[in-house]
């Protein structure tokens, strides 16, 4: 074997080794589909989860970047915490990512935040004079602020509200009936007594007319 043949074989081996290494490093990071939609009461918190997995043939070290939200006027952005923040998945392995949202108590109701959370495959690549490309998965995280629930101890069930409303209606009806009855009696007394001045004058006029008729009859 001469030197030229040896160099050729060595270069071919390096090329094959490089190709094999490239194939062996193939990473395929996956996740379950669907946005995470939070409806969080003011001062409250909520936790949702989803699954990430390694669908390739090599280990995948990953890091998690929580979603970034642009500020909403007069509101404090909710706090988002993610568990785990990093880890390593083996081929075929999956893990659950927990996302928790805490809503400030002083925020307004009906505010929406929308951002993308990232699970990125770790890389130690460097590329002076160019860009390093890092791949990963994005999960849309949408957060709505809701009204806080009624305070405990003062909560009234809808059934109790119906009973209270019924009692109030009954009391009003009874009072109205009593009032109407009371108003009816003086009116009746007025009609039967004939004590007003107009009636007296009319009676006097009728008596006078009766007298004149009697006089004519004589």
């Amino acid at each position: 074997m001469n030197i030229k043949t040896a160099i050729t074989i060595t270069l071919a081996s390096v090329l094959l080794l490089t190709l094999f290494s490239t194939q062996a490093r193939a990473q395929n990071l996956g996740q379950s589909a669907g946005s995470l939609v939070f409806n969080v009461s003011l001062g409250g918190n909520q936790t949702l989860s989803y699954t990430i997995f390694d669908g390739g043939s090599a280990d995948i070290a990953y890091t998690v970047s929580p979603p970034q939200y642009n500020p909403v006027g007069n509101n404090i952005n909710p706090t988002v915490t993610v568990t785990p923040l990093s880890g390593t998945l083996q081929p075929g392995q999956q893990t659950t990512v927990l996302v928790s949202v805490s809503m400030p108590a002083t925020d307004q109701v009906g505010v929406k935040w929308d951002g993308i959370m990232q699970v990125l495959a770790s890389t130690n690549a460097s590329n002076p004079g160019g860009a390093v490309i890092q791949g990963g998965l994005g999960k849309e995280v949408i957060i709505y602020s809701n009204a806080p629930p009624p305070k405990k101890g003062f909560s009234i069930s809808s059934q109790a509200l119906y009973i209270i409303a019924g009692v109030i209606v009954a009391v009003v009806v009874v009072c109205a009936a009593a009032f109407a009855l009371k108003m009816r009696k003086p009116a009746a007394r007025k009609r039967g007594g004939g004590s007003d001045e107009g009636t007296q004058k009319r009676i006097a006029a009728l008596e006078q007319e009766l007298k004149s008729l009697k006089g004519k009859g004589k």
């Binding site: 193939a26 990473q27 395929n28 990071l29 996956g30 996740q31 379950s32 589909a33 669907g34 699954t51 997995f53 669908g55 390739g56 970034q68 951002g115 993308i116 990232q118 990125l120 890389t123 690549a125 460097s126 590329n127 002076p128 004079g129 160019g130 860009a131 390093v132 490309i133 890092q134 791949g135 990963g136 998965l137 994005g138 999960k139 849309e140």
Partner: protein, 173 residues
């Protein structure tokens, strides 16, 4: 007396299987030594398996280079590509973000990098890269691949140096 015996079953889901609920009937084959009661229900087990929809990501490269570009010039078109492969059973939308270009104490903004779904997009028509992940509206379907093309412009007066940047490509689903 017959001893109770249990068996743990495992299921492997092949890549690219469509999402949905799958059912299977597992018929147990019993040995001759097993005694039946006359009213015994046939020892069959219905297996239920739910395969959720999901997306995956695999990129063909970990770096791109724009060569040498002088100050106030640009790459003319979105000339550098990254092939994004989604091996999952559900589609995804590509989101991109990046960092500022840095070289020691010198730097220039992330937005000087632009992207497009086409290689023929002029630099001026490309969409500027941002620090926060942005939805590109570029769809990569299930079990398919899509290119994202990048271009670069150098601000006028930028100090000559060898700059580098990080670009993040994610499949959102």
């Amino acid at each position: 007396m017959y001893a109770d015996r249990s068996r743990i079953l495992g299921v492997a889901i092949a890549a690219g299987i469509a999402s949905g609920v799958f059912l299977a009937l597992l018929a147990l084959q019993l040995g001759v030594q097993v005694a039946y009661a006359t009213n015994q229900i046939a020892p069959n087990v219905i297996l239920s398996l739910t395969v959720p929809a999901g997306c995956e990501i695999s990129l063909n490269t970990q770096s791109i280079s724009f060569g040498t570009i002088t100050a106030s010039q640009n790459s003319l078109t979105t000339s550098q590509n990254v092939l994004d492969t989604n091996g999952g059973n559900g589609g995804a939308v590509i989101a991109v973000s990046g960092s500022n270009w840095v070289s020691g104490g010198n730097n220039f903004g992330v937005s000087n990098t632009v992207y497009s779904s086409s290689s023929s997009t002029s630099y001026a028509s490309g969409t500027a890269l941002t620090l926060i992940p942005a939805n590109t509206a570029i769809v990569v379907g299930s079990s398919s691949s899509t290119n994202v093309w990048f271009g670069l412009g150098i601000p006028a007066g930028q100090v000559a140096s060898t700059y580098s940047q990080n670009i993040i490509i994610t499949n959102v689903c």
